[in-house]
Symmetry: C2
DNA sequence: ATAAAACTTTTACGCGCGTAAATTTTCGGT
DNA sequence: ACCGAAAATTTACGCGCGTAAAAGTTTTAT
């Protein structure tokens, strides 16, 4: 590979012996030029290592190949995992994904949307903050940019919604817990950052009632995204006060469960389904670390692949012109039986 | 705010009653125009909501305001945390950071570097994969783009290196473990993905020898970045074979420790510093989840703030023209005493 | 071989903005 | 009120590429 610095397409076109407009066509779609021409360009490409200037390209294209991926927090392994999954799918589909995190705060989410506008993405995959999302800003954004909402829905904004079926999640695991021991109480944050929390509480209550049982919800104090620590503290308080009416606790999500397990450990409360255990704890999400808690956490897991595949494909379809009415796709979770419940 | 769509700076300049070049100056540096002029522009800005076209701007600027942040894996909470920290600092300093993950693989890291070239960043903060990094590619990249290497150094590439002092980490915690119980053996992966692992093993050996003790290194099998699971399996094997020559295990990093704790739990091996515990386990890194293991993990923590602050500032200085010879800054960690050791 | 179809080349313009040079306006100090 | 300096304006060009139109060339089908 020669080390000559090629500074623009003009020069590269000259070196490859092809006209610049044709080279331009090639970069926009290699299949659009004659095989012989393509071969010559690719040959020159190997020797001279040239890449079109991104900024000049996107200035003139009606549609960039950019896709924005936005999650509430990249520090949360659940979102990190799904973002990774989505990123890969975008790249494989020939797009250029860019990752953004709202860092759990409204104003950051708003900033991200402003930034996104400036890169003129052809589409956006957005997992909203939820309760903390600025509805008006998001709605306006969805009007301007093809946006697919995932993880938690915000009204009927955007192209469509794809997420997990929180009702099924909670109903399913509640059912399991009822069948294998005492019916669970529900452990959650009083003011949850995650909007799915509301759905899950509701689903728990309905499931319990449909089984002819009385639901019990324990709502702990705490603000923000430090779920584990909030739950650890709340767990201590609940255990001390004897706030759990049954020996089975269904947590609104795995991170709360992780914190609760720590609280149990610190108080010497044995968790599990063995005879000598005094409490069963279950989570929801299929958090990457749920396998490594002590005891390993029984949970109901998102189908990460299915969610991200459905979401990504729906966006790609919309970008490529398919117009479909707004719809909501909710994907079932899989129960993961481990030792904690 | 009027809803008229302003399509370029020309129009906006007309509406604000200021000439386009002056408006351009304003956007590049609001302080560079007369206060009265600035006020008029900002007034118009509120009413008409215009933002310069990013692509047109960066096409002509010698130096974009972009900064690339690259980590080996965003799914690893340690890197997610430090990436978050760096991202914030870039934004606060007026830059536009973009996050990239190498997903633990060489070819992805190479791809990221190619992508980075195309966005013409004014600087890059890069945590290399380490052993798996393509040296030649990285070296060439560092020649072309101002790059600051952090977390693990690769020769003397880039502007400088900023990371934790792995020698101090390991020496310090080894010392602590020796003083409070049996001297530790060292638990690591045979072929670690993380290059700091080598330094830490070496530091352990030297520390032990300086204390007049015999070092013992247990190297477990496994490839890739699924440290916890690799460690859990390796831990089972080691415990079964009685491979630990002492009751104290110092893990090369917290993720290995988390897996080992799970293995211990699954075998009913009690971990901790209480009299009835049979093994002590310590980690290294100050992983966000180390607080929530059972028992909570004793570890030596990165000074996340100091590392990211030093790294970011060094890059900013270089971008702003300060030329300094390559240097390596290694920041000490803080021992976090918890129940596991 | 010939005509039609498909592809390239040439030419030319525009995108939205940075930026330099020359000129005019504005401002603070006296 | 006057003058010099600082700032704003006018004018003009260029960045690297997309893209359209017209003309030329190659390929494919008949």
């Amino acid at each position: 590979m020669a080390n000559d610095k090629i500074k623009n397409m003009e020069e590269f076109a000259a070196l490859s012996g092809i006209s610049r407009p044709t080279v331009s066509k090639y970069f926009n779609d290699p299949e659009s030029v004659r095989p012989k021409t393509r071969a010559r360009i690719e040959e020159a490409l190997q020797e001279h290592d040239y890449r079109p200037n991104m900024y000049a390209v996107n200035q003139n294209r009606k549609l960039t190949k950019n896709i924005g991926i936005v999650v509430p927090s990249l520090v949360d392994p659940y979102f990190a995992e799904i973002a990774r999954n989505l990123e890969r799918r975008c790249i494989d589909a020939g797009y250029r994904p860019t990752l953004f995190s709202a860092h759990g705060e409204t104003h950051h989410e708003v900033d991200v949307l402003m930034t996104l506008r400036s890169i003129k993405p052809s589409g956006v995959l957005l997992a909203p903050l939820g309760r903390a999302t600025d509805r008006a800003v998001l709605e306006k954004f969805c009007d301007d940019v093809p946006t697919l909402i995932f993880d938690s829905s915000v009204e009927q904004f955007g192209l469509a919604f794809v997420g997990s079926d929180n009702n099924q999640f909670t109903t399913h695991i509640t059912d399991y817990l009822c069948r294998t021991g005492e019916p669970p109480c529900f452990y959650e944050m009083k003011t949850p950052a995650n909007p799915n929390a509301h759905r899950r509480r509701q689903a728990y209550i309905e499931a319990m009632e449909s089984f002819g049982l009385t639901p019990h919800v324990i709502s702990i104090d705490g603000e923000g995204w430090e779920f584990e620590e909030i739950s650890r503290l709340g767990g201590h308080k609940a255990l001390e006060e004897g706030a759990f009416p049954t020996n089975t606790v269904l947590c609104s999500n795995d991170r709360l469960a992780i914190g609760l397990l720590t609280a149990c450990y610190e108080r010497g409360v044995k968790v599990g389904r063995q005879p000598d255990a005094v409490i069963r704890v279950a989570g929801q999400d299929g958090h990457p670390y749920s396998r490594f808690t002590c005891p390993p956490l029984t949970t109901i897991s998102h189908d990460y692949d299915a969610v991200s595949k459905t979401a990504a494909n729906a966006l790609f379809d919309a970008i490529e012109g398919q117009v479909e009415p707004w719809k909501s796709t909710r994907i079932e979770g899989k129960l993961i039986l481990r030792d904690s419940a």
